[in-house]
Amino acid sequence: MNYALASLAIPFTVALLTLLLQRRSEANPIVPAITVLATAVSLVFAGLALETQAVSGAVSHLNVGGWDSPLAIRLRLTPLKALLLGFVALIHLLTGLYAWRAKPKIARDYWPLSALLHTSLAALILSADIFNLYVTLELLSLSAVALVCLSGPKAYTPALYYLLLSLGASLCYLMGVAVIYGQYGVLDMTVLAGIMEADHSTRFALLLMTAGLMLKGALWPLHLWLPEAHTYAPTPVSALLSGLVVKGPLFILWQLWNNLAPEALAREMGPLFAAGGVVALVSGGWSAFRAPFIKTLVAYSTVAQLGYALMGLGLLLFLQERIYAVALWLFVLAHGLAKVSMFLAAGEMQTLLGSKRVTAMRGATQTIPITMSAFAIAGISLIGMPPTGGFLAKWSLLEPLFTQANHWPWASGVLLGTFVSAAYVFRAIALGFYQAPMSREPRHFDRVSQWLALLPALLVGLMAFAGQDLIAWMAGVTQT
């Protein structure tokens, strides 16, 4: 628990510190260094927390400030939470390194805000009661919106939409919390898990909370705000938003339905989630296929890929088999890494090619091969071809479906998803293979930042080679 707490406290301290450090001066050069370093330390602590937690398989609690149960801020650490802490820190580290290196220079406020985002995600992961989750959700949205604003006035409109919808969604969630507390008089999730009943007011509360979370997590059909916000944000911010921020509400949704909700309600809800996932895959994929701008394509692909996660959640609830939880979290990990790479590559392309349009990618395999490889490898993981992480996740979703004949129809959802993702990914990759217009030389050529964009893609690209261990380990991690 102490390690996890350190992993949470470090970015928080850094957020405050960096705010102080750059109060007056223009841009303090040590701020990025401090932030990146602290993120690395936070990652190490998350790793330690994961090691102790996964080895003991234990669940630990902490009441902040020593208060007692109802009034205290209660934190809870499980192996899965430790894993997610590490994942958040890792993605922050990767994007942080890129942002440090990126040209043109990112706004200096990126550093305290991203540290704040890191803090709120860590707090969201560790929170043990449904009201604290509301507070962390709000913190998450506020820092995310502020980060979107960093790209200047053109981002204000999407940022404002994002903020207002997000606030509305939080209040939907809070209303659900009020109904639950009104009925059971408890906020702590471990306690609630044992006593919730499948009655009307519980169902109503869960639906309110679900609607709010689906809006925040951009889960179909409540995803409409996402493409604009993710497109207009600065590149490292887009990577953070797609890779991490939408996963926060998804994690709460998972806890809500997998741990809290009575099984009868969960079984009822499962097919709806799964069907929503299939529609998300197809409609998001289609929009990505039609997208005129590189970043819009990547943003819609997030909508589509969240469909896989939603499908995993739905099938988990519906069929009550652990393997779908493994599939769900493998999707989250694989998608996070792939999406970071893809957004960073998209950002590099915008700078190097001087255009936001997908059609600007013509000849990119010749002019910017490393960036193009990052985009392509990440894309192949999104399609789910071996040996990528996307394949591993898809396999763990697909294979158990075939064990029973009446579950086979769900496999067609995966089939459709693959086709649609292949269509939008290869549309972009194919453009890269056109003969390059030789006159247009890249304006500047920073190998390091290109390799930084490639790094997450390589990680996810070879993920399946650890498949057997990873699936077995994830099965253990998602138990609690």
Binding site: Q366, M385, E399, A405, F419, F433
Partner: protein
């Protein structure tokens, strides 16, 4: 890990590593690039030679690494895999030399040779794959690595061909994945077993096995270009000729045909297939493909496209040989895997040499080409006669065994199928031979690049062509010797197919 375990890995990496290194080379580093390529070729040939010797002595080359639950990554060199591995290793050598000659002076060679080597690694991986999961991994890698070669020229036409290639192969790969997942859910993905590992699956899973068979064969049929899944192949001929030669005549399409052979004999097994009665539709499709593709070939006016349809037709010989489920037919199918590869690559090499030297693309432009390029035209003649099945070429041996195999399993119509197919082959190949030797050139050649060396074409284009033409003749003449592909195919059938 002892040396027998290491060899399959070396066989895959001997082209993968040079490929990755070549990507990092600058365009001008021609010498280094050639050196890396030839180093990989040499290492692979040596490894394959040792493995061939080892398998004939009864050694087992096998390596396993964890991959998915119930499905490890297995590379296993058995007699059947070595049949395909040696084909791709030998032809890789010939094509690498040919490609260096063919691409001289064109841009983006590092990209080309990088992907080219990865393709060969994927092909060798497909051949050595010891279970379905490993097969899938390399099969998809092959799809991905071939795409950049199809679109290498970067023109709109090439990109269109690439799109259709991807549409077919990605869809096929997905169906294959589904089929593999169905089987995996039933029995995991154990190592391929002669006689099929699904024999032990209870009979009540019959419908699942049927669906999985349909999925697998459709998925593999895309690459094996079974009609109506062949649409990508003629279009892909827009790629540079070495790509058409090695990949579209040999590696990619053979990966599909080889996969079908594996599924039939080592996954399902003849017994299970007969019980479920699954091969009849496959035989029908293959027989239809043999005839229909030949008719389509007759209509083509473009040399490479005619060769492409001929490939479609000839591949179904292999599928048919496997699907007839008789030992003699199996020998015919397996030996044709080799023979078709050698003969077809000869023809493609010639087509590429005509194109590079004289700018000849169309059949109508071939009049009298034998006077200008006698050696190349001789090689073309050998290949064409082989395809037609005239003794003593390799093609005759294949057809003989396939037809005899049909009689053996009580399907005499197969003999007539090969008679008709032979006539059609003659109808679309012999006129080319006639034109080349006996017609009088009507006009100037579209282009004329006489090399300074005084040879009829670039030496690096000519030598590989003559080499493969010679192989075609030798395989026919020396078919009786135990060392040839025929002897090896009989070894496979004796060892692996307990029919």
């Amino acid at each position: 890990m002892n040396w027998t375990n290491a060899l399959p890995v070396v066989a895959v990496f001997s082209s993968l590593l040079p490929g990755l290194l070549i990507f990092a080379l600058r365009e001008q580093q021609q010498g280094l690039r050639t050196g890396l390529n030839l180093l990989g070729v040499t290492v692979k040939l040596i490894v394959v030679g040792v493995m061939l010797w080892g398998v004939s002595q009864g050694l087992d080359f096998r390596v396993e690494a964890p991959f998915l639950p119930g499905g490890a990554l297995i590379l296993h060199g058995d007699a059947l895999s070595l049949q395909f591995v040696s084909l791709s290793a030998v032809l890789w050598m010939a094509t690498t030399i040919y490609a260096i000659g063919y691409l001289r002076g064109t841009p983006l060679q590092s990209r080309f040779f990088g992907y080219f080597s990865i393709c060969v690694s994927a092909t060798v991986g497909v051949a050595l794959a010891g279970n379905l999961i490993t097969f899938l991994l390399f099969y998809e890698l092959l799809t991905l690595a071939t795409y950049p070669l199809v679109v290498h020229r970067g023109t709109r036409e090439a990109l269109d061909a690439g799109r259709s290639y991807l549409a077919y192969t990605v869809a096929g790969g997905t169906l294959l994945l589904m089929g593999i997942a169905v089987l995996h859910a039933l029995s995991g993905s154990p190592q391929f077993v002669p006689g099929g590992y699904l024999a032990s699956v209870p009979a009540r899973h019959g419908p699942a096995l049927t669906v999985a068979f349909a999925l697998l064969i459709t998925g593999l049929g895309v690459k094996a270009a079974l009609i109506p899944l062949h649409g990508w192949l003629p279009k892909a001929m827009v790629a540079p000729t070495p790509v058409s030669a090695l990949l579209h005549a040999v590696a990619v399409v053979k990966a599909g045909a080889f996969g079908i052979v594996r599924v039939i004999y080592d996954v399902y097994g003849a017994e299970t297939l007969e019980q479920l009665d699954l091969t009849a539709p496959l035989i029908a499709v293959a027989a239809f493909t043999v005839i229909f593709a030949s008719l389509r070939a007759l209509q083509q006016r473009h040399l490479k496209r005619r060769l492409a349809y001929s490939t479609v037709s000839q591949l179904s010989y292999i599928v048919l040989g496997a699907a007839l489920l008789g030992p003699i037919a199996a020998v015919g199918g397996l030996v044709h895997l080799i023979h078709q590869g050698i003969m077809k690559i000869t023809l493609f090499f010639c087509a590429g040499a005509f194109e590079k030297t004289l700018g000849v693309h169309r059949i109508s432009e071939m009049d009298g080409i034998g006077r200008r390029m006698p050696l190349t035209m001789s090689a073309f003649t050998v290949g064409a006669l082989g395809m037609t099945g005239i003794p003593p070429t390799a093609g005759f041996i294949s057809k003989w065994f396939l037809a005899a195999g049909g009689l053996e399993v009580g399907q005499p119509w197969v003999v007539w199928l090969f008679v008709v197919s032979g006539l059609l082959n003659a109808a679309y190949f012999l006129p080319l031979v006639y034109r080349g030797w006996f017609s009088i050139p009507t006009a100037e050649w579209p282009e004329d690049h006489q090399p300074e060396s005084g040879w009829e074409t670039r030496r690096m284009l000519l030598l590989p062509t003559l080499f493969t033409a010679l192989l075609t003749l030798l395989m026919g003449l020396l078919a009786g010797s135990a060392l040839g592909p025929l002897g090896w195919s009989q070894l496979i059938v004796a060892r692996e197919f307990p029919l």
